[in-house]
Structures are given as structure tokens and as C-alpha cells.
């Protein structure tokens, strides 16, 4: 088990990577919220928003194939999560699969969930394809999220890797004692491993706290690189915002 996917995607070059991370986060939120605001059945606008993300990816030199390949798992999850709605939403029955009746309302809702969800997922994947985890935290800090949240996330990054190492060790220790068999022993074992990992994390946090104090910690995690939203970033965000708003309005008014 490892967390190397936390930042293995992030490209080092490309125009999007040079924009402040806060702008990338805001753009992602803008696209996701824009898509979510589309009414049921606004198929054209859903396609346009998806296209907008793909265009951004092209500007950022993120290959289309990469983007699509990384979007596949969450898209599949979305499809699976929405499948039940096909038969659960009441409406005109348009097809029968065994004992299940697919309704027109169900089809429209599932189609809309996919249509609204896809641009959001593409935008999210584009974000992680251009942004490393520490930069993401820096962006969130720039966006004035509570200090407690950004401090927790900033420290969680290193802790996660250390925790992953410890979990691997604990699992190996358990496996070497031949711990297998049924659900109950397995559950007990996992609870034991999780509890030990938690106790170790807490102990580590105390040692880290000492190390911070020894180096003059003042109580606030200060960041070395500030990348505030500059004029150019605001201008680009403005353009994107207007585009998204136009798409949403065209669907809402039309």
C-alpha cells in the first residue's frame, strides 16, 4: 500500500502549472459548480462544458489520452452509483431488464448525472494532473480556508507517507504470523492494525511537536512560497467564469 499517487501525476511544465495553484483550484470549482447548476436534460450545455475542460487541458499540454485514462475509474464509479436510479425513479416504463423496469425519468436523471458529473470529474483530473499535493494545500491557504484545515493538510502529507510505511510493516508482521482465515479474525486483525497505526501516529505527532518547538515554532505554520492570485490569474478566471455563466444561463433560460 502506498500513497505515491498523491502527486505522481503532476506535470512539471506547461502553462497551467505556472498559474497560481489557487487559480487552478478556483477554476476547477467553477467548472464543477457550473456543471452542477445545469438543469436535467441540458445535453448540449453538458457537452460544451466537457469540451471547455478538454480545451483547457490542451492549453495546459495535458495529453487527451492521459486525461481520459485517469478519468475512467471515477466515471465508472459515477455510472455504477447512478445505475440504481434507472429503476428507482418513478415514471413511464420504457424498457424491462428481467424483473427491473427502466423508466424515462430514470434514464433522464442518470443521463444528467453523467452529463453533469463528467465535466466535474474531468476538471478534477486536470487539476491533479497539473498540481502537486503541497501546491494544492498552498492554493487552499491562499483561498483563506481555516488555518487549522490547511495546517492539518500540510502536515498530513508527510504523515501519510510515514503512516503508509508503518501500515506496511504492521501488515507484514501480521502476515508473517500467518494471519488469514475468515471474516471475523480478519476484521479483528485489521482493527488491531488500525489501532496500532493510530497509537503510533499520535506518538509521532508528539515527537514532531517537540521537534517543532525545538526549532522555535510560534504556533502558525508559515509557508515559504506564497503564490497569490495575480492580475493575470484573475483575468483568466474572469473569462472562464463568464463562459461558464453563459453556458449555464443558456440552459436555464432556453
Amino acid at each position: 500500500m502506498g500513497f505515491h499517487h498523491l502527486d505522481q501525476y503532476a506535470h512539471s511544465a506547461g502553462p497551467l502549472t505556472r498559474t497560481p495553484p489557487a487559480a487552478r483550484v478556483l477554476a476547477t470549482v467553477l467548472l464543477a459548480v457550473g456543471a452542477a447548476l445545469l438543469p436535467l436534460g441540458a445535453w448540449l450545455q453538458m457537452v460544451v462544458l466537457g469540451g471547455l475542460v478538454l480545451a483547457l487541458a490542451r492549453i495546459g499540454h495535458v495529453p487527451l489520452a492521459t486525461l481520459l485514462a485517469r478519468s475512467a475509474p471515477p466515471l465508472l464509479l459515477l455510472a455504477l452509483a447512478s445505475a440504481a436510479v434507472l429503476v428507482l425513479a418513478p415514471g413511464q416504463v420504457i424498457a424491462r431488464v428481467g424483473p427491473l423496469a427502466v423508466t424515462d425519468a430514470g434514464l433522464e436523471r442518470v443521463g444528467s448525472a453523467l452529463g453533469r458529473g463528467t465535466p466535474a470529474i474531468l476538471a478534477g483530473v486536470l487539476l491533479i494532473s497539473t498540481t502537486r499535493f503541497p501546491d494544492l494545500v498552498e492554493g487552499l491557504r491562499e483561498l483563506r480556508l481555516p488555518l487549522v484545515v490547511t495546517a492539518a493538510l500540510g502536515l498530513a502529507y508527510r504523515f501519510l507517507y510515514l503512516l503508509a510505511d508503518e501500515l506496511t510493516q504492521l501488515q507484514r508482521a501480521a502476515a508473517s504470523r500467518n494471519a488469514r482465515a475468515g471474516a471475523v479474525p480478519r476484521r479483528r486483525l485489521l482493527a488491531g492494525i488500525t489501532a496500532s497505526a493510530l497509537v503510533r501516529s499520535l506518538a509521532r505527532s508528539e515527537r514532531v511537536h517537540r521537534a517543532m518547538l525545538a526549532r522555535g515554532f510560534t504556533g502558525e505554520l508559515l509557508s515559504l512560497h506564497r503564490q497569490p492570485l495575480d492580475r493575470e490569474a484573475w483575468r483568466n478566471l474572469g473569462i472562464l467564469g463568464v463562459l461558464v455563466a453563459l453556458v449555464v444561463l443558456s440552459a436555464r433560460v432556453g
Binding site: P134, G154, R158, A214
Partner: protein, 236 residues
């Protein structure tokens, strides 16, 4: 005296007494090894040197000022403590940020803190790792990075807890020769008698929380029966 302990005793809140009337002094540029078996109180003593623990009896003086809540900040700038596990010391996403942590918290400007951090990494020969995460470094490099996080503040006294504990022969030699070249005073807790001999002319031995030897390292190491008596060597 850079650091002076006067009759320092310490007991944990549960009542467990770990240090008994420990007294010694350490001057500028002096290098002293702290030896002793596991549980002798070495780590606890080190935590007293910059006030992470305050003694329950006696007093600790840094530059002649007694350590108390209100003098901690100044003392911590004078005494650089490097912990046993490098991972506990590298808690930020990149090595550079970890090294810049102390200058930033001391109120330095971002640009100055970064320049200082980069210069310190260059001194240790690991400047190419500045923007990497600590978990992508080798054990030896991580140890040097942890050292850099403390050296960046230029403390006149370095307090090191097992700085070569998890290193192979080459890594160990790299750390020792680096420390020997520098001018800081050093208090070094270790199990490694070779490292102690190579680096520190003077050594202290702790046994069950009491200071039982304070003298030449070479004299101690030449006396096989004394070493065995102090449980510093054991026949295999």
C-alpha cells in the same frame, strides 16, 4: 559556559525518577560524547538542554541564563537539538521548507529564509534535494537534511541524539567528518564508541540517571574493565 547543568534531577509526573543530581558544563567549541546503556537517561537529559523538559530539581543554564518558561525562546536559538529519528524532524512537504522552518519562525523574510536554507543545504552537499520530499531521500541524505534544519539557525551548541544510529559505514563517516569540520560545540548521545572517539575528546557516562564518568574519552576507551563495568561494552 555555553551550557551548564547544576544538580539536575528529573522525575516524570507518574513519579518515575530518570535523572539524579547531574552536573556538568560545556564551553564554546567543545565536543562531548554522552554515553550510557539504554534507559540510562540520555534522551531525557538531551531534552533538558533546550527546555523541552524543565528539571524538577536543580537548574539548567544556557549562556549563564537559567532556563525557565520566559527564557526558552532565546535558549532554543542557542541550542540546536537534532532528534534520533530524522523523520520526526522532516514534517513539511519539501526538504527546503523544513530547513526554512526555523528562520521563518524566527521572523525572517521569506526570501532571506529561503536563501539561508539553500546555503545550508549546499554546505552539506544536498542542495540538489531541496525541492524533494523527505521520503524520496536515502537514509543518509535524510539524516543530513535533519541536521540542516538545525544548522540553518547557526546555534553555537549542537545537541545530537544518535546521529549515526541508522546509517551504514559510508553515511556514518560522512556525518562524522562533517561535524569534525565545523566549529560548533557538540553534545552527542551515542552507543557507537567509534563515533564518540573520533569526534569527542571528552565524554560523560550516565548510569541509571547518575553521572558516573566525566573525563577523557581516550582514557575511558583504553580501560576495558571500566567499560565493562559501565555496561558500555559486553563480550558476545
Amino acid at each position: 559556559m555555553l551550557l551548564e547543568l547544576r544538580d539536575v534531577s528529573f522525575a516524570y509526573p507518574g513519579g518515575l525518577r530518570v535523572l539524579h543530581d547531574v552536573s556538568f558544563g560545556l564551553g564554546p567549541g567543545e565536543r562531548v560524547a554522552l554515553l550510557g546503556a539504554n534507559g540510562a537517561g540520555k534522551s531525557t537529559l538531551l531534552l533538558h538542554t533546550n527546555g523541552l523538559l524543565l528539571p524538577t530539581g536543580g537548574s539548567v543554564h544556557v549562556d549563564g541564563t537559567v532556563l525557565a518558561e520566559e527564557t526558552l525562546r532565546a535558549a532554543r536559538a542557542r541550542v540546536g537539538l537534532v532528534f534520533q529519528s530524522a523523520d520526526d524532524q522532516l514534517f513539511l512537504p519539501t526538504v527546503l521548507e523544513d530547513v526554512a522552518f526555523a528562520p521563518l519562525n524566527a521572523g525572517q523574510e521569506r526570501g532571506a529564509a529561503e536563501a539561508l536554507a539553500r546555503a545550508t543545504l549546499a554546505e552539506l552537499g544536498i542542495e540538489t534535494h531541496a525541492d524533494r520530499a523527505a521520503h524520496h531521500l536515502s537514509g543518509g541524505e535524510r539524516r543530513l537534511a535533519a541536521l540542516a534544519t538545525v544548522l540553518v539557525s547557526r546555534p553555537p551548541l549542537l545537541v545530537l541524539d544518535e546521529p549515526t544510529g541508522d546509517l551504514d559505514a559510508r553515511g556514518r563517516s560522512r556525518v562524522v567528518s562533517l561535524l569534525r569540520r565545523r566549529g560548533e560545540a557538540i553534545l552527542l548521545a551515542t552507543h557507537d564508541l567509534h563515533v564518540a572517539a573520533a569526534l569527542c575528546p571528552r565524554c560523560l557516562v550516565l548510569d541509571a540517571g547518575r553521572l558516573v564518568y566525566d573525563g577523557d574519552t581516550s582514557t575511558l576507551l583504553a580501560d576495558a574493565s571500566l567499560l565493562e563495568e559501565l555496561a558500555l561494552t559486553c563480550p558476545l
